[in-house]
Symmetry: C2
Subunit: 200 residues, 2 copies
DNA sequence: ACCCCGGGATGACAAATGTCAGCTTGACTC
DNA sequence: GAGTCAAGCTGACATTTGTCATCCCGGGGT
C-alpha cells in the first residue's frame, strides 16, 4: 500500500485527484494540503511514503517543500506534479532531490504509474522534459533574480530602489546586465523570459 | 440523466473530473475536449444538456465557445469552471449568456451541485463573485485593450507600432490614456491590473 | 599575494517612454 | 445639423530607462 499526502492549491483539483488515487487498490491518500506549510505539517503528521505536490502554491512552493524535506533527511519521497514545462523548474526540482516530475498535461494513467515507480525507488521525469533539463542553466545572480521579480509587478526603478534599499542607478545596472544575459530588449521582456524558463 | 461535455486543457485534470462526474448516478460524460474548437465539435456531435468548460484554453477560450453556442441558439447550457476570480471574466460570461460560473477553488461537491442546478434551469454564480460583478466595468476601448495585450509580451512602442500599423506617438498616447484610466504609473502596471481584472 | 567575481555605487549620455495640446475623420445620437 | 466619441495623427517637452566606463569592498581560489 502506497501512503500518499497530496498538496495542491485548487480545492476542486485536489479533491478530484485524491478521490481518484484512493480508488487505486494499492494507493491510500492519508492527507491533503492546500499550500506548502500545510504540506510540511501533513507530512510530519502522517509520515507518508510519497508527497505528491504541485509547484505553484500560495506561500511555500512545492520546490521549497521538497528542499526542506530532503534537508531534514526525512524518508518521504517527493513527486512533483505541475502545469509548467519550464526547464528551470525541473532543474531546481532535480537539485532539490525530488524523485519524480510529471506534467498535468499528461493522462492520469501516467500519474498513477509515476507514483508506483517513485514508490519502488525509481526516478521518473516527464519524457517531454528529459532533454530540456540539459539545455540552458540559469545565468542570473540572486540579486538579478530579485530585481526581475520586482519588475514583474510593474515597479519602476525608483520603486525597486526604495524597496531594496539600493541606488536607482544600481537598479538600472543590474537590470541592464540581466537584459544582456537574457538577450532581452527591455526590462519586461527580460522578466518574461526569466519567468518562462522557471528562473524566478 | 444529465448528459455533459467537458472541456479543459490539462489532460490530467480533464480525466480526473470526467471520471468523478461519471461516478455520479445522474451524470453521464458523453464527450471531452482539450480546447475551444474541440469543445464546439463535441457539442455538435453529442448534443449534451450541459457544456462544462474552463476559460483559459489554447485557441478559442471557454467564453468564446459560450458566446458561439448562444449565438447559434443551440439548446446546450454552459457552465464555466475556472481558476480565476476575475470580475471581468464573470461579467463577460454573463454577457455571453452562460448558465453558471464556479471556481476551481471550491470543493468538488459544489461542482456537482452547480451542474444539477444548471440542468434544472437555474443560474449559478460562485458566491465569492456574486457581488464582484457589480463593481467596476471595463473602461478600456478595444484599441487600448489590444495595445495592452501587446505590452504583456514585453514589446516596445516601436514593436507595437509596427505590428499594428500605427505611428509610435499614437501608441504612446493610447497607452497613456489607458494608464490614466487604470491609475497605473507605467505600461507594465497598467497591463498587470487590466489582466488581473479580466479585461484582456 | 594576486585575481576574479558579486554586490554596490557614481556620473554622463543616449534612447525609450510618458504627457499635453491640438488637429482630422467617420460613425452614431439627439 | 450639432454634438459626442473612438480612432488616428503631429510636435514639443519632461521623465524614465538603458548603456558604459569606472570606482570601492570583501570573499574565494590558486
Amino acid at each position: 500500500m502506497i501512503r500518499v499526502v497530496l498538496a495542491e492549491d485548487q480545492a476542486m483539483v485536489r479533491g478530484a485527484f485524491a478521490q481518484l488515487l484512493d480508488l487505486q487498490p494499492d494507493v491510500a491518500v492519508v492527507g491533503t494540503a492546500g499550500d506548502g506549510d500545510e504540506a510540511l505539517a501533513a507530512v510530519a503528521l502522517h509520515r507518508p511514503d510519497v508527497l505528491l505536490t504541485d509547484i505553484e502554491m500560495p506561500g511555500k512552493s512545492g520546490l521549497d517543500v521538497a528542499q526542506e524535506l530532503v534537508r531534514r533527511g526525512d524518508g518521504t519521497r517527493v513527486l512533483i506534479i505541475t502545469t509548467f514545462a519550464r526547464s528551470g523548474y525541473l532543474r531546481r526540482a532535480m537539485d532539490a532531490g525530488v524523485a519524480g516530475y510529471v506534467l498535468k498535461d499528461a493522462p492520469i494513467a501516467e500519474l498513477v504509474s509515476a507514483l508506483r515507480r517513485v514508490h519502488a525507488g525509481e526516478r521518473v521525469v516527464a519524457p517531454e522534459l528529459a532533454m530540456a533539463a540539459w539545455d540552458s542553466a540559469d545565468p542570473l545572480t540572486p540579486r538579478e533574480r530579485e530585481l526581475l521579480r520586482e519588475v514583474t509587478t510593474g515597479a519602476s526603478n525608483a520603486d525597486i530602489a526604495a524597496r531594496l534599499h539600493l541606488a536607482e542607478g544600481t537598479v538600472r545596472n543590474y537590470l541592464s546586465t540581466a537584459m544582456a544575459k537574457l538577450g532581452a530588449k527591455n526590462r519586461s521582456e527580460a522578466a518574461n523570459t526569466a519567468r518562462d524558463r522557471g528562473w524566478l
